[in-house]
């Protein structure tokens, strides 16, 4: 029984979220929606930062692209959301590919700088391309309509966000357990060895950017549903840093990490509301305490304590029902 739970924590998470949503008020519902949106974006960031080990700091910009593309498609062309949403993801993925090209050569902090630069450029375009983006005034986002029903309030948009988030989670699991996901890990651990196993490092990096940006684009589009109104400030560097915190606090390179991170970072500021003056400080201190005591994130801690199963990178290995011989032992090369 316990082991079933242990192996299906995410399913359980979705069931609980669904259950809560029947009994809650608009405030909590809104936060749940926001949390699920962050889950999607953080998953994307986790793929590139956690799994592929690349310092990409442009997720705010990717979100912006997703949000603006879907909003523009719906507002100006009247495209249904079912089409606008994937288009948002694809548009972001396209930009991701373009950024992925320098990433082939540039790594580490330099990559961080390049991606920060890209987000600044995206910000600039959003602020200055008035006729299209509305500039700093931002723009209203129409509510999506499915089969003639408008999904406008928090309770209704929840269903959209919930379904998309679940689908994206399944997709993430697929990616991780595919050879692409393994290639991410391989280039993180050492490009040289990866290459001589036949992994095309350049292509893998571009893919990492594309998929990760796809998630952020979808996330951005969903984000616009929770806000009904978007402006460039929603997607600045601060947003990117928040996503980064979610991945690390939750536990990078694990599927569950972004969930934990998004839950904590969405609700923590709300819980700190009562401590108004100390909200910011409390938040900062908590981050520090978190990384000191669980530098691999909460998920990493739970995995090393054997409470959660370790991440699998192959499907077959899971099918073969073998007792787990050993789990990861903490290791330091002396």
């Amino acid at each position: 029984m316990l082991s079933i739970l242990r192996n299906n924590v995410l399913t359980l998470f979705f069931i609980i979220v669904l259950a809560i949503s029947f009994t809650t008020d608009a405030y909590s519902q809104y936060l749940i929606n926001l949390m699920l949106v962050y889950v999607v974006v953080a998953q994307g960031l986790n793929l590139i930062l956690g799994f592929a080990g690349m310092f990409a700091f442009a997720h705010g910009a990717f979100m912006a692209i997703g949000a603006y593309v879907s909003a523009l498609l719906m507002n100006t062309l009247g495209v249904p959301y079912l089409i606008a949403l994937p288009m948002a993801g694809l548009a972001a993925a396209f930009v991701g590919c373009v950024i992925g090209i320098p990433a082939i050569r540039v790594s580490g902090l330099y990559l961080a700088m390049v991606t920060i630069g890209v987000s600044e450029i995206v910000q600039w375009v959003l602020r200055h391309w008035k006729p299209v983006t509305g500039g700093t005034d931002g723009m209203l986002v129409a509510s999506p309509t499915f089969f003639g029903v408008e999904f406008s309030d928090d309770f209704q948009s929840f269903y959209v966000i919930f379904v998309v988030c679940a689908l994206m989670t399944v997709l993430a699991q697929f990616v991780i357990r595919s050879r692409l996901g393994r290639a991410f890990v391989a280039i993180r651990e050492g490009e040289i060895a990866a290459q001589s196993s036949g992994i095309n490092v350049a292509r893998t990096k571009v893919f990492a950017f594309a998929i990760s940006a796809f998630y952020a684009g979808i996330g951005g589009s969903l984000f616009s549903l929770t806000q009904h109104y978007i402006n460039p400030e929603n997607f600045n560097l601060y947003q990117t840093i928040m996503q980064f915190c979610m991945v690390i606090v939750g536990g990078s390179a694990s599927l569950i990490g972004p969930f934990i991170g998004a839950v904590i970072l969405t609700w923590l500021p709300e819980l700190l509301r009562n401590a108004q003056a100390f909200q910011e400080i409390g938040f900062g201190l908590l981050l520090i305490v978190f990384v000191i005591f669980m530098p691999r994130g909460l998920a990493g801690l739970l995995i090393s304590r054997n409470i959660l199963p370790r991440e699998r990178f192959s499907r077959a290995a899971r099918l073969r029902k073998k007792p787990e011989a050993s789990t990861s032992v903490v290791v330091e090369r002396p």
């Binding site: 032992v329 903490v330 290791v331 330091e332 090369r333 002396p334």
Partner: protein
């Protein structure tokens, strides 16, 4: 001079060394031999203070060093050539030797001490200005050895120094160890190369599963068959 008594150490929850005792008398070359994963590297790391000890004592020159951090152990005159070399990949070979020498002894003799090292490891002379990260495996091994002996330690611990070295150099290494020993350095040598180990050591400890299972003067081990048996068996 070095006295390890009932040592216990390991990694996280994982205990590797159990009740390990051994001695390195002054001026001797002692070999510590054992199969892969027996705990040799762990022993050296524990003595050096790189990993914490849980039980037991390590005394060096009558000073207890088992709870001291590595840099303090070093200042007592213990140097380690680690199995994974641990070089500074962006720094030049010369800087390695210099850094090895800098923390002990006086500044004036620095140049001379580095020169001494280069006399022991002449191959390095040609590469003094190269960055360590670009060197070949064997060249890196020589840098690691050079860095350790530059500090003119009282006790030199070598973890598989012959790994990756060409036969010619291995022979040279054997002679170097002996020469160092003659100038007063005690040596604790971990080796897989039996030829080398048995030709320089005066006394042998054999470790298995984290404890010493056999020890005695080298002569006792000269029958290699028996030695293998004690590994595998």
């Amino acid at each position: 001079m070095l006295d390890v008594a009932n040592l216990e150490a390991g990694y996280g929850p994982h205990l590797v060394l159990k009740d390990l005792s051994m001695q390195v008398p002054r001026g001797e070359i002692i070999a510590l031999l054992g199969g892969n994963g027996a705990g040799k590297t762990t022993t050296l790391s524990a003595i050096m203070g790189l990993i914490p000890t849980r039980k037991g004592t390590v005394t060096f020159d009558n000073a207890a060093i088992h709870s001291k951090p590595a840099h303090r152990v070093f200042s007592h005159g213990v140097a380690l050539v680690p199995q994974w070399r641990e070089l500074f990949s962006e720094m030049s070979v010369y800087e390695h030797l210099e850094l090895g020498a800098i923390q002990r002894g006086n500044r004036q003799s620095l140049g001379k001490r580095i020169d001494d090292v280069l006399d022991h490891l002449p191959e390095l002379r040609a590469h003094l200005e190269r960055r360590a990260g670009t060197l070949s495996g064997g060249q890196q091994q020589m840098v690691a050895i050079g860095r350790a002996i530059a500090s003119q330690p009282k006790l030199l611990m070598l973890d598989e120094p012959s790994m990756g070295l060409a036969p010619l150099i291995v022979n040279e290494l054997g002679r170097t160890i002996k020469r160092l020993n003659e100038t007063g350095t005690s040596v604790l040598l971990v080796e897989q190369n039996m030829h080398l180990a048995l030709s320089v050591a005066s006394y042998v400890y054999i470790i298995r599963n984290g404890t010493i299972v056999k020890h005695g003067p080298t002569a006792q081990f000269h029958d290699e068959r028996e030695l293998f048996q004690s590994y595998i068996g």
